[in-house]
């Protein structure tokens, strides 16, 4: 009896240490912000989803296009907050990288429908959401692409927009509150337009500010049918298919 208790207690201690170690590591790994994997030869990248170069705005859509229109929907999430010219946006798939982990994967993996989840189950789902990040799971599937991207790609657009405003304000000695953004440019108080392309190099040196996402009532692109960004390449047959691996830029 006494021995059994000792063993149990020791086993308990060992188990506790292992769990504490695991949790400690898990929290540290899960909180770490993944590095931006983009290092464009020309132009600048303000975050893992955005490159601005002489040709304009390129959005990285790190999910596989398989007919679901992900190259349009996810690009629109960035464009909506960025106030980019959607018709002129270019979309690339980007490299494989931890920054593109699919955080919606595990929540979608719970074995009950979303509407039937209890608070406790939602909490478990939220904790499990860190797993794809720690494991760098860049997966497309299970209707998770938009769920995963819905906040982070809008935030990518919003922080970039505010960074461009800071860059424009610094140039003109203006206050960002006096500035507006539209169609890929910052509108100055005197009506001049400073395009994101012109501001890109300055913006890349500015620490991105904290931002609030817009109210859905202000959306111009989201919730509407948009022309697909991948239509031309699909009617010429040049669209890159998943089984034809060529460098990530091609």
């Amino acid at each position: 009896m006494g021995r059994a208790r000792r063993i149990t207690r020791r086993a308990f201690l060992v188990a506790t240490a292992a769990v504490a170690g695991g949790v400690g590591f898990g929290v540290w790994k899960a909180r770490e912000v993944p590095a931006n994997p983009l290092a464009p030869d020309a132009g600048v990248s303000l975050n893992p989803w955005l490159i601005v170069d002489g040709g304009g705005v390129t959005v990285v859509v790190p999910r596989a296009e398989m007919g679901q229109g992900v190259r349009t929907t996810l690009a629109a999430l960035v464009a909506e907050e960025l106030d980019a010219d959607f018709a002129a946006i270019r979309v690339i798939h980007g490299p494989p990288a931890q920054a593109y982990f699919n955080g919606a994967l595990m929540e979608a993996g719970l074995p009950m429908p979303n509407f039937a989840l209890s608070d406790r189950q939602r909490w478990i789902g939220a904790q499990m959401a860190a797993l794809p990040k720690v494991l760098s799971l860049q997966v497309t599937g299970g209707s998770t692409s938009t769920v995963d991207a819905f906040e982070k790609m809008r935030l990518a657009g919003a922080t970039a927009r505010e960074t461009f405003k800071l860059a424009a304000a610094a140039r003109a000695g203006a206050d960002t509150a006096q500035l507006a953004t539209e169609n890929g440019a910052v509108l100055m108080p005197d009506g001049t337009r400073l395009t994101y392309v012109e501001l890109a190099a300055d913006a890349a040196r500015i620490e991105p500010p904290e931002v609030m996402l817009r109210d859905p009532g202000q959306w111009r692109l989201l919730g509407r049918a948009l022309p697909r960004t991948d239509m031309a390449e699909k009617v010429t047959g040049s669209a890159t298919r998943r089984w034809r691996c060529r460098g990530w830029s091609g």
Binding site: E65, M66, G67, G69, P227, R228, D230, M231, A232, E233, K234, V235, T236, G237, S238, A239, R241, R244
Partner: protein, 153 residues
């Protein structure tokens, strides 16, 4: 073996028994033409030989009887043919996998029947399958292309 593909003479060093589709994709690198079934059941591999729509998976290289035109010969991303522009205008593609074959089949139809009825379209396109079910938009694109082509003279 020497073939004319999209207006260019191409020397192909391959077994004459090799299906044209393989030669186009793997030897010449023209991957716009797709492999779907390999048994003449889907139309994804449709190309033209002397203007006639054929299934490239069924034609051995040694038996190619004329000039080959593939989807790459029709238009490019920066310079779409009228037919492809109509496809874009109607937002016809979903995954897009079947569409090069659909477009080549439609091109062969419009070359012979400039103003096709829905029945003409359905009859000509019956062998081109679309797993995404884009048939209504394909039909709309063909009708628009027919009108645009007549206007362009």
């Amino acid at each position: 073996m020497r073939l004319t593909v999209n207006g260019l003479a191409r020397d192909i060093d391959a077994d004459p028994e090799m299906p044209l589709l393989w030669a186009l994709r793997d030897v010449l690198g023209l991957t716009g033409t797709k492999f779907g079934c390999g048994v003449a059941a889907c139309g994804a591999c449709t190309v033209h030989i002397d203007g006639e729509a054929v299934r490239a998976c069924q034609v051995p290289l040694g038996e190619v009887w004329g000039e080959v035109t593939t989807i790459e010969g029709l238009g490019t991303d920066g310079s779409l043919s009228i037919l492809q522009a109509a496809w874009v205008a109607q937002q016809a593609a979903q995954c897009g996998y079947c569409q090069p074959g659909q477009i080549m089949q439609a091109a062969a139809l419009l070359a012979v029947v400039p103003d096709p009825t829905d029945d003409d379209i359905d009859a000509a396109m019956a062998g081109n399958l679309c797993r995404c079910g884009t048939y209504p938009r394909i039909r709309a694109a063909i009708r628009q292309a027919a009108a645009d082509l007549r206007e362009a003279g």
